[in-house]
């Protein structure tokens, strides 16, 4: 991994690798965001990847991408504590694997640059048809969240849990904020993002990135950049009282989510301790929740905990029979008490450490996990996957118990069956 300064607030990160058949370039922009700007950035990335100045409609852009051996213009929007990471990237087959010896990597890089910096504009605005189409798509995407109940339940738990904090805003905001966006708002959001976001450009390839960096330098230097790289690690402020939220719907299975807070220092060592605690509590099949709530009590198919290291929180979720709600709730809290009381063995903690380490090392073998790791690493003093794995290995049983003792229940969410059932 080699880090270079490309422009003001724009750094390059080169990950040289010969293990992939593809090369990828990703532009990761970090920016604080509220409800309206989250929606604006979400809509923006749909618009920028719909068409460009050179390819003025989605059919011609998609044809161009497919002719480049299915080059993939990807975008990704990540909640990162109270910030958002807006990612635009392109992944393309290496030139030496094309069927007829075509050179495609330069063309793919051009396409990415064109998508980010040269969108299709008409009279200083995005083309209205493109704006309208993508607004419809984004609203459909937000509404479609309800189709998968597990994700829907977790997302509503987070919204309640982080009430009043930027992290409470759902991944793409809400339909009202999207609906209220004007074409002018989007033009401003585009400009704001390019001028004010801290940018990390990752290149994963066997070829040196110098030429690519030069092109980005040219574009970013032509803008009046005003960037502050902030440390965005923000712990969740607990309100003291447990919050309760319940929803009813025409569902067969109840969804129980418990949101917890955990004291987290700034040091990565304390993040590693909390990560091991959350994993041994509700991670793999060796965890307290899997072995007890699922296997011994046979209450559910899944009962798992997921950690948010930027907020110092974790959410336990489970799909259960509605009449087992109390049993599952008590079962989860009992297992937490077990750890708090020191009823956790060296073997259990070791299982978690060895599993987490094993998974971390395998991040090196996937472009997507490598890319995300090294995008976020800029906020962790360039920490490598191996550095963090070492921190995980250093966690002790005592550390896990100490973390457990700081855990507080914050939010309880339940999605249950509506009384007036629909017989269809």
């Amino acid at each position: 991994m080699i880090i270079s300064e490309i422009a003001n607030g724009v750094e390059g990160c080169f990950i040289k690798s010969n293990k992939f058949k593809t090369s990828s370039i990703s532009v990761n922009m970090f920016i604080p965001a509220d409800e309206k700007s989250v929606s604006a950035y979400s809509l923006l990335y749909l618009i920028l990847t719909d068409s460009t100045k050179d390819y003025p409609d989605y059919t011609s852009l998609n044809k161009a991408l497919k002719n480049l051996y299915n080059a993939s213009l990807f975008f990704f929007f990540l909640k990162f504590g109270d910030m958002r990471m807006v990612k635009f990237g392109i992944s393309v087959l290496d030139d030496n694997f094309t069927l007829f010896g075509e050179t495609i990597s330069n063309k793919a890089a051009d396409l990415l640059l064109c998508a980010i910096f040269n969108p299709l504009m008409e009279n200083g605005k995005f083309k209205q048809e493109v704006f309208n189409n993508n607004k419809r798509i984004l609203i459909d995407q937000i509404n479609a969240q309800i189709n998968e109940k597990r994700g829907y339940a977790i997302s509503n738990t987070e919204k309640e849990m982080y009430n009043g904090e930027p992290a409470s805003v759902k991944t793409h905001g809400n339909t009202e904020s999207v609906d209220s966006l004007t074409n002018e708002d989007l033009v401003k959001a585009h400009e704001h993002l390019l001028k004010n976001a801290f940018v990390r450009i990752n290149v994963i390839s066997q070829n040196e990135p110098d030429l690519i960096y030069e092109r980005f330098k040219e574009y970013f230097n032509s803008l009046e950049r005003n960037v502050e790289k902030k440390n965005i690690s923000l712990n969740h402020k607990t309100e003291g009282e447990v919050k309760y939220l319940e929803e009813k719907m025409n569902v067969t299975q109840g969804k129980l989510c418990l949101g917890f807070t955990v004291d987290l220092g700034e040091a990565r060592q304390s993040v590693a301790k909390a990560a091991v605690f959350v994993d041994v509590f509700g991670g793999g099949p060796y965890s307290k929740l899997f072995t007890n709530v699922r296997e011994k009590q046979s209450l559910c198919y899944y009962c798992a905990a997921r950690f948010n290291s930027k907020k110092g929180t974790f959410i336990v979720d489970s799909g259960i029979l509605e009449e087992n709600r109390e049993k599952a709730y008590n079962g989860i809290l009992e297992q937490l008490e077990e750890i708090k009381n020191g009823n956790i063995s060296e073997d259990e903690v070791n299982s978690s450490k060895i599993a987490l380490t094993d998974t971390l090392i395998s991040y090196n073998d996937q472009t997507a996990t490598l890319d995300t790791w090294y995008a976020l690493a800029t906020f962790n003093d360039g920490e490598t996957i191996e550095d963090y794995a070492e921190l995980i290995k250093g966690v002790t049983v005592e550390d896990v118990i100490a973390v457990a003792k700081t855990v507080k229940l914050d939010t309880v969410y339940f999605l249950g069956k509506a009384k007036e059932d629909n017989d269809d």
Binding site: N62, K66, Y69, Q141, A144, N147, L299, C300, Y301
Partner: protein, 421 residues
């Protein structure tokens, strides 16, 4: 016997070892990787609900039993498989589909130990009435989770509309009622039939050495007399059971799945038929196609629109799915385009572009050990030579495409499944 398949164009090779039991072991060495991925699988899935061994009588078993067996195989008299993997750090799992069950692990350390655990637990079933009973609650909740999943329901309802008798219409996990009939004896009957090594395969990719894996297989595989399995497949008529099926669930916008049922003269489609189908679907339904443009610009679909070729033992259909406020209109326009394509064929440039996409997907599959294994499973399952698809795409003709188009799409023999709000 060891055979090496090489593909110099993409600089990859796969080594296949045929064990004396009849089982084939596929290995792709990727020394530059940090991790590895392994599958031990059997040609046994949810559709195998009635079968016989050799000249024996046909046995009919409860729906969902293959999946139930998958859950129970992780248990043993002493330490269950998850507890054993917990000591090595591997991430272990399993899945059951319509026609196969696969046990897998991925790891970046302790490969040999993990491989030993995998081969051991899959070959040593241990079921008691008590442990079988215990699983009812867990799988019952897995079933209910899928009951609430609109994308799953739209697919299963479509299969129920397309097929009158073929067991592909049955949910993989069965129902709460059907799994209540499962007992230890039935699980052993199914195990002893389908988990014969002659009906199984092993595929491994990543930071491994092929010869070491073959040696481990020689040491660990327990050869039994091969069994001849007769799968009872009901005589499925060549017409759909229902033209349309609708249910209501909490969804944001109606979900639809349109299915085109295809004749199955042989139990399995050939690799060439499958590759051609994939390329045709990319050309007709891709986001660069005229059909996509007409549907999208009329606001009849959004970016969730997709098409897949769905096939297995004695079933084959094309499924087109998405979200729409007017699924019937989507069906009407799709049918109009298909009728036109059947007469006029697909433009050469559109096919060429789809071939590039298909080729690239195949090559990029080598970016991940998991994908490599999944592709090898396809070869092992169908007993087709590795990399054969690369030769097929070089020799596709317009005549092939038109012929395949006609086989795939019989508009009078199609169904639509809708999940309404």
């Amino acid at each position: 016997m060891i055979k090496t398949y090489k593909n110099s164009l993409i600089d990859e090779q796969v080594i296949v070892y045929k064990h004396k039991s009849g089982l084939e072991v596929y290995v792709c060495e990727k020394p530059e990787f940090s991790s590895s991925y392994a599958i031990f699988g059997t040609r046994y899935g949810s559709i195998d609900t009635k079968f016989s061994v050799g000249n024996g009588k046909f046995l009919e078993v409860p729906e969902g039993i293959a999946h139930y067996l998958e859950h129970k195989l992780f248990e043993s008299e002493e330490l269950d498989a998850f507890a054993r993997f917990a000591k090595t750090g591997a991430s272990a799992n399993a899945f059951t589909s319509f026609d196969r069950t696969c046990y897998l692990f991925s790891c970046s350390a302790n490969f040999e130990e993990n491989f030993r655990i995998l081969l051991d637990f899959v070959q040593h079933p241990y079921f008691t009435e008590e442990t079988v009973q215990k699983e009812q609650g867990i799988i019952g909740q897995e079933i209910q989770m899928y009951d609430d999943s609109a994308p799953w329901q739209v697919l299963m309802n479509l299969l129920g509309a397309l097929y009158k008798k073929h067991p592909v219409r049955i949910d993989i996990a069965g129902t709460v009622e059907s799994i209540a009939k499962i007992n230890a004896g039935l699980l052993y009957d199914c195990y002893n039939t389908f988990y014969n090594l002659n009906n199984m395969f092993i595929c491994v990719a990543g930071n491994v050495e092929a010869q070491k894996i073959f040696d481990l297989c020689d040491e660990l595989l327990i050869t039994k007399a091969p069994v001849i399995i007769n799968r009872f497949m009901p005589n499925e008529e060549n017409k759909v059971e229902k033209r349309q099926v609708e249910v209501k669930l909490p969804v944001s916008k109606p979900l639809f799945a349109i299915g085109f049922k295809e004749k199955c003269e042989n139990p399995q489609k050939t690799l060439k038929e499958k590759v051609l189908s994939e390329i045709i679907l990319k050309s007709i339904f891709g986001n660069d196609s005229p059909l996509y443009k007409e549907l999208f610009d009329s606001e009849l679909i959004n970016d969730s629109f997709s098409a897949e070729y769905f096939n297995g033992y004695s079933y084959a259909c094309t499924i087109v799915e998405g979200e729409s406020d007017n699924p019937e209109k989507v069906r009407e326009i799709t049918n109009r385009y298909l009728s036109d394509y059947i007469v006029k064929g697909i433009k050469k440039e559109d096919i060429e572009r789809a071939v590039k996409v298909y080729y690239s997907e195949e090559v990029c599959g080598f970016n991940s050990a998991e994908n490599i294994v999944m592709n090898m499973v396809e070869s092992a399952f169908l007993k087709t030579p590795v990399f054969e698809e690369f030769d097929i795409i070089k020799n596709i003709t317009e005549v092939d495409v038109v012929k395949r188009l006609k086989e795939m799409f019989d508009i009078d023999n199609s169904s639509i499944s809708i999940v309404n709000k």
